[in-house]
Symmetry: C2
Subunit: 450 residues, 2 copies
């Protein structure tokens, strides 16, 4: 199946964002494929491979191709916007953490064979960090004489994390390298730490609300991370590896790890439901487990050195992307959250040699320029310049890849006042609109999400 013929059109060369410019290798995967090393293919995994969003490099390890990078960067941008609102500051901690730090917190043993380790030429052992509680505590500990006045402090990063999974599976959902956004909060006492915890949780609620996929916040188990309180963010999906118990009476959600599966641990009702879900975020109120072990202290008003109270908050960035696609897509058609689609709009110009082409092909560049006046559509519109293909065929492809809005420059554009066909994939609507209506429609559809 030669879905993407790459013959470039000479007509739209002033537009950088042309489909034939994009490296998007199409790759058909046989049904019921079982990849080597026990990897199992989920719907999102299959669609992302088939449609050239990612490509497997090694078991549990993927190349992000250009459309995948665009979606990821949109998610990173959204996260950065929300982090700015709560005064969280971005840092970059090194990938390699010295094993001695993990020894001091006991996690070298807890994580065991899931850790990738590397020895340097001086025979020092480093960990390819799956998370950075040790590293960030050591950073804070290295700053001498921090005063109580410098807190609260919230540091975050979005970096690759590593885990030598026994069974990498479902593509980005359980990989051996994954992109994670991790935030660490530092406070002078339990009450302030609790306040930071609520503030970050609210911010994560906003992030998930803006992504738009229905999410469920559940009480979780603190597990090997430690601490006194933990919440998880979930998307419901059959392929999930977690079970959530939800109470129809009081609305309480918990992971069955934490809350059992018989009755509601909050109101004791047995009017409960169990659902399968994918964990996409996890927050922990850590207490002083890490700060004590690594001496991340501050000086209080009496100039006494006291361990900081910490929180840790993870968002599985690459996992959110895959899980959202898993939830939203159909078997043969990929769907993205509106904010994360690699391009929000795709324009389909007339077929080469058609009677329309000679008369109205110039409308493509005109509409492109018009829509680019909307700030959130800048560098966010794609032209499908495979004009040797029929409009209908290209519309099918646009649906499959899941661009939220498709604009067709077709026969109705031959009218004295051109009429554009707009397909709104999320609302499942096709509309015939004049140019100015098109602009207004897109402005209104997008103004609430951007």
């Amino acid at each position: 199946m030669n879905l993407y013929q790459k013959t470039k059109s000479k007509l739209y060369i002033n537009i950088t964002n042309r489909l034939t410019n994009i490296f998007q290798p199409i790759n058909v995967i046989p049904k019921d494929a079982q990849r080597k090393n026990q990897e199992i293919i989920s719907k999102s995994h299959r669609l992302m491979l088939e449609l050239g969003i990612i490509r497997q490099a090694n078991p549990g390890s993927f190349h992000f191709l250009p459309l995948g990078v665009r979606a990821l960067e949109k998610l990173l941008h959204l996260i950065d916007e929300e982090m700015l609102k709560i005064g969280a500051q971005k840092v970059i901690l090194p990938t390699l953490t010295h094993s001695k730090l993990w020894k001091s917190t006991g996690r070298l043993q807890d994580f065991g064979s899931e850790l990738f380790t590397v020895k340097d030429r001086h025979n020092q052992t480093y960990i390819l960090s799956p998370t950075h509680e040790e590293a960030v505590s050591d950073l804070i500990a290295s700053v001498s004489q921090m005063s109580y006045k410098e807190f609260p402090l919230k540091l975050y990063q979005t970096t690759n994390k590593y885990r030598d999974e026994i069974k990498p599976r479902f593509g980005l959902l359980r990989g051996r390298q994954f992109l994670m956004k991790d935030l660490y909060s530092f406070d002078v006492d339990v009450e302030n730490a609790r306040h930071s915890y609520e503030e970050v949780c609210d911010s994560y609620n906003n992030i998930f609300s803006r992504i738009g996929v229905p999410f469920y916040k559940a009480i979780g188990s603190v597990g090997a991370m430690g601490g006194s309180l933990s919440h998880e963010y979930h998307y419901k999906a059959d392929i999930g590896e977690d079970q959530l118990i939800s109470c129809s009476k009081c609305g309480f959600y918990a992971n069955t790890d934490f809350g059992g599966s018989d009755k509601c641990s909050h109101c004791n009702s047995d009017n409960i439901d169990i659902s399968t879900a994918i964990e996409v975020g996890h927050t922990f109120l850590l207490g002083d487990k890490y700060s004590k072990a690594l001496m991340a202290n501050y000086f209080n008003e009496k100039r006494r050195s006291v361990p900081l109270q910490m929180g840790s908050y993870g968002l599985g960035v690459s996992r959110i992307l895959a899980a959202a696609i898993e939830v939203l897509s159909q078997e043969q058609e990929m769907r993205w959250p509106l904010l994360l689609a690699p391009y929000t709009v795709i324009i389909i110009p007339p077929k080469e040699g058609s009677k329309e082409e000679g008369v109205i092909h110039h409308l493509t560049e005109k509409v492109y320029a018009l829509l680019e006046t909307l700030p959130f559509l800048q560098n966010n519109i794609l032209v499908d310049d495979r004009i040797q293909m029929t409009i209908g065929r290209r519309m099918i492809d646009a649906r499959r890849v899941g661009y939220p809005f498709t604009i067709v420059i077709g026969s109705k554009c031959m009218e004295e006042k051109p009429i554009f066909e707009l397909v709104d994939l999320q609302k499942n609507l096709t509309l015939n609109l004049y140019e100015e209506q098109l602009l207004l429609y897109l402005r209104d559809a997008l103004k609430n999400v951007y």
Copy 2:
């Protein structure tokens, strides 16, 4: 020295970008410091540590603190803008590359003990990639049936790279983890590859021109990378590890590795100069060394499978930042390229309890809001809210950290029509300006760089 007192002012809490909100641990390093493991401190290394831009985690491995991240992200943004202009597409290749790929190109041996390697639970050996020629060739090879119509293709990424340096030194200039932007070009024949090579080199010229630090493009040796042609980009600095030979007659530049150090290898003149320089970029016309070894082929018009012609183009992103600071800074005062300063403008409001404070402190938020109307100053202005300190003391700190523009809300703002003091650090000018003049001055100063 308690340079940064952190007592937060209650006056400017509506402004997120306040100095007391920033995690910027000040850290005084004794003169002639020799760090453990032979690490040597250069001016940029020392200033970046002292002023809380980076912090050492392990030998050759650094935390980027919030101001450092801001500068890095500005550089990444600049690079992305230039990449879009030449139609290069962003990808993300995994950090870990299977050692078998490096074996097939012979580089497992060439790099030897400089490679960090890791074994997974199945006893497979992976490399923490210092560069990705093998990985990207393998990616292209995995796409079946690529046609000549799909080329030229230019893929790039900006990711962490790893090298187990014998002697990490000069901070970010020679670290064991570093941020690199690497681009790979694929073409159907030597002539087209040469064209891509010129195009990317032109783009790199633009990037270095926009950064604004004087740079020198020299012929370089292809070394272990292989290929037929190579250029290097350099900043001149005493601590550099390269020697450039330049010809006063024909203007030719070469690395002495390639061009000897006696006479010009271009015009044979012995009217030459030798200077010490830091390599900040390197380009290679690779030929088919990697594509042949890894079967990165395409089908030509006769449906015959032919190895692709490749190019490889690296920019040392974290190194550019440090090298620019090395070139521009004075011993005790850091200087940034205008485009890369963590904040372009810093505003210094009146001292607490001064006669000015009661009357004009509101001008701070007013000027802040006014300047934010300039698109390139959005989220790019900092308020120094350490109002317990004198204006003069805060001006000294602003100079030390090197914010390009300082605006003082001082006694001259008490006039009926307030006059603002503006310090332009790059031009070494202090100006007294009315509000509208301030806006015009900054707009003009910045419009050519953004």
